[in-house]
Amino acid sequence: MGTLLFFSFGAMMSMIEKEVVHKVVHDPEFLALIKKKNAISFSLMAIMLLVYFGFAALLALSPQTLAKPIGSATLGIALGIGVILVACVLTGIYVRWANTEYDSLIQKLNARLAEKQLTEKQAEETHHA
């Protein structure tokens, strides 16, 4: 009997939890934020892939282009160092955006949701009373 009671209580709790999660995940602001974040990280990644595999394509298919001299070095050396720099810059752009704008938006969203949950709970309590 005791276990049964405990079990149904647990199931009830997880149902409430699920509802909260469901609400947050379908919150339009949260969805917009996820969308924006994915748009930024996927476009930065697309740039990285393009630059890197562009470099790989030259290396694989047209090494003679990369052998062209630039000063006393070659185009290949300049481009190789260039790809390394691009990787650093893209990383910097993303971390800057995520650690300032994204983090503060998430914080605001969390605060708003906590508030909403509280008011809903209060409304429920007054209703019960």
Partner: protein
Amino acid sequence: MTTLGQPNAVSIAFFLGFILVTLGITYWAAKKTKSTSEFYAADRSVTGFQNGLALAGDFMSAASFLGIAGLVATGGYSGLIYSVGYLVGWPIVLFLVAEPLRNLGKYTFADVVAYRLKQRPIRTAAAIGTIITVVLYLIAQMVGAGQLVELMFGLSYSTALIGVGVLMILYVLFGGMLATTWVQIIKAVLLLGGATVLVLLVMNRFGWSYNNLFREVAGINPKLLSPDTTKVATSPLDVFSLMLGLMFGTAGLPHILMRFYTVPDASQARKSVFYATGFIAYFYVLTFTIGYGAAALVSAKYLAKDSFGSNMAAPLLAEILGGAPFLGFLSAVAFATILAVVAGLTLAGASALSHDLYVGVFRNGEQSEKDEVRVARIATVVLGVLAVLLGLLFKSVNVAFMVGLAFAVAASANFPALLMSVFWKKFTTGGAVASIVTGLILSVVLIVLSPTVWTDVFHLTSAPPFPLKSPAIFSMPAAFLVGIVVSLLKPEPEAAEKFESELLRTYAGIGAE
């Protein structure tokens, strides 16, 4: 003439100093290493900057310092291909896996894959993927360590291995992740500092002008400055395959992924990738300069395979420019580098054995913290002893080849399952296991059938059945494809249902450990 191989007072002093300091840190860390979170993740107390240095320390192995400098010195441009490929893995880690790892997992990357899926099959498969990657990488580092110490200090190969094994076990066993992190940080600072001084000496010799350096190199061998992929790949397709494996391998290396659990939250995790990328990029520019400096200044007869081999390009250059004391300093730094990387690898392997396999699979997730730490410590000793034995057994294996194999397995077995579990709602337990197994088997089998093993290791005269040197272009897409097909054939509604709470945790960090 070179004094390489004859230990001098400076190298011994630096070496002993490093051991004393790191053992002191281990003693300090041991007092703070009791719970699982302390043992595996330094109680999440590491800052983004510190973790950035430690990540760089994990990544800048002796193989990449001595190996890439040597590759540039003797092969020229092919060294740069590796540098670029290793580096671009870091943006991938940042954009795809760093934050989900920090927010979803606890101690291992299997935590993330198993988040929505069935614990036991996932943890078994992921632990096997982890152990194989770690052991391959460990063999490469141990063999490299033995050969280096033999060359630099004149100690015997087996003495060197036992020395590395004992010290590394002490760090991990008593100091856990906290000691390992600080050993990495110290080593990263020493390595970056030592390489910087060496580059300053090179640039001083060439009137602070890269133009002069390149002109000198071109005068000796103009081919060194032009791209040449024939050393590293058999065909244009093979070039792509190599570069694909290098890029995505980093995002599947268990000892790198594990470091994201040592910081308090996702913002610090991101920050640590930013610092790591900067340090590693700087380091590759240094090694590249050192390599060309060696090509210009070190007599070709020393770089030949029958003398010291190309791995010794950087130490030989250090001796020419800074004399025996600087050679001694750099030798000690190279040794410290190996120790630190081996400690990080052992900790990652021990976590997979205890957290995933023992607790997650055999004990069904139920085990007291105290017992879990005890098992992790036993696993550390077992892996440490195994590393020494494997190092002795594989003495003649090619180090670069083992590292390449580890990267191929990481990119094919670990990375696809990790990525799909985070981003794809319909991913299932069956799909994950099939993906890991496919990536693992395919990458290993294709390498055995490739010219790298078929011709260079087995010395078979018939044409290798698989014509490429790098398998990633087949094994990685295959792992994705098999994971997708198996997941679609047999859906797992319970897993899809949990995707919503996973989203909340991935993106907002709500409920993260």
